[in-house]
């Protein structure tokens, strides 16, 4: 259902970025990069308003004519950005939330791997399989 999924580190460089191979990948990279500004804006806005109740799921960051971009930030400031096809209107908020939850769980599994250094690019087969399962449903 997603056309592009990216994991961005705290320092705002990509740890993992994967998009549907048929489309122009650079366009998605650019979309994700520009969405980081919106993420930062949401984080700073939320921080002042509700300090106790920090929601991890950021919701719809911004819609373009073809795509919608959703964001999710963890407590360690690692961001997950998901680009979804606009024509897929059947996708509800709950489904996006559950997809982000699955991403977060897989990310924590990777962090627990003793051979993974935080800040490295993500090279895990299990993570790839999980992301594939989220992206293949488009076809």
């Amino acid at each position: 259902m997603a056309v592009c999924i990216a994991v961005i580190a705290k320092e705002n460089y990509p740890l993992y970025i994967r998009s549907i191979p048929t489309e122009d990948e650079l366009k998605f990279h650019y979309t994700v990069h520009t969405s980081l500004d919106v993420v930062d804006e949401k984080i700073s806005a939320m921080g002042k308003a509700l300090v106790d109740q920090r929601e991890l799921y950021l919701g719809l960051l911004y819609p373009t004519e073809d795509y919608k971009v959703y964001g999710y930030v963890t407590n360690s400031k690692v961001k997950f950005v998901m680009v979804v096809d606009s024509s897929n209107t059947a996708l509800r908020d709950n489904e996006i939330r559950s997809m982000f939850r699955k991403l977060h769980n897989s990310y924590t599994d990777i962090m627990c791997n003793p051979f993974y250094n935080p800040g490295d690019r993500i090279n895990s087969r299990a993570f790839d399989n999980m992301v594939n399962s989220m992206m293949m449903q488009v076809c």
């Binding site: 599994d109 627990c112 791997n113 003793p114 051979f115 895990s124």
Partner: protein, 180 residues
């Protein structure tokens, strides 16, 4: 430094995740310190040995096992009592030699590798759980049984199962002769 008597009945459980992550950090640090896999493996074995020579007394104190009469009984006790007590898994035992002094423990679930998906490419011959081999070797040595313990198969290295091979080096009958 003996423990106060009231503590004997308490079962102090620590988090399994903490233990697995600590072991993982240990192996990762050893990989950073040593370049060759053999050095890391032998270091893990030495550490396991020093744990084993101390753990055996704790094991014998907490479990009610009687003296083992044969190597196969010893292997069974290791698999069914010791592994169950310390790691929570029960490997299956099989004897692989006609002489009766080589056994293999087949682990279908190894809690120590819970979070490790696969070994990094440059560490292809690392025995991640070599500490366990050292522990078994040290423990057996303290009960006067010399043994060689190695990993015959390892799921992390691509094999189908994880298999630990125990080879007892001296026959028990020799000891009985000496006593007589």
């Amino acid at each position: 430094m003996s423990r106060p008597p009231g503590r004997k009945q308490e079962n102090h459980k620590i988090s399994r995740d903490l233990f697995v992550l600590t072991y993982g950090a240990l192996v990762a640090q050893l990989c950073k310190d040593y370049e060759r896999d053999e050095d890391v493996n032998s270091c893990l074995d030495r550490m396991g040995y020093s744990i084993g020579i101390r753990l055996i007394d704790d094991f014998l104190a907490h479990s009610d096992v009687k003296k083992c009469r044969s190597y196969s009984e010893t292997a069974d006790v290791i698999a069914q009592v010791a592994f169950k007590m310390y790691l929570g898994v029960t490997p299956s035992v099989s004897c692989c030699s006609a002489a009766g002094n080589e056994f293999s423990l087949i682990l279908d679930k190894n809690p120590l590798v819970d979070f490790v998906e696969e070994l990094p490419a440059e560490r292809a011959s690392l025995c991640y759980c070599n500490l366990l081999c050292g522990v078994i070797r040290g423990a057996l040595e303290m009960v006067q049984l010399a043994a060689e313990v190695t990993f015959l198969q390892d799921r992390l290295r691509g094999d189908a199962v994880t298999e630990i091979g125990i080879t007892f080096l001296r026959k028990a009958e020799d000891r009985k002769h000496k006593r007589k």
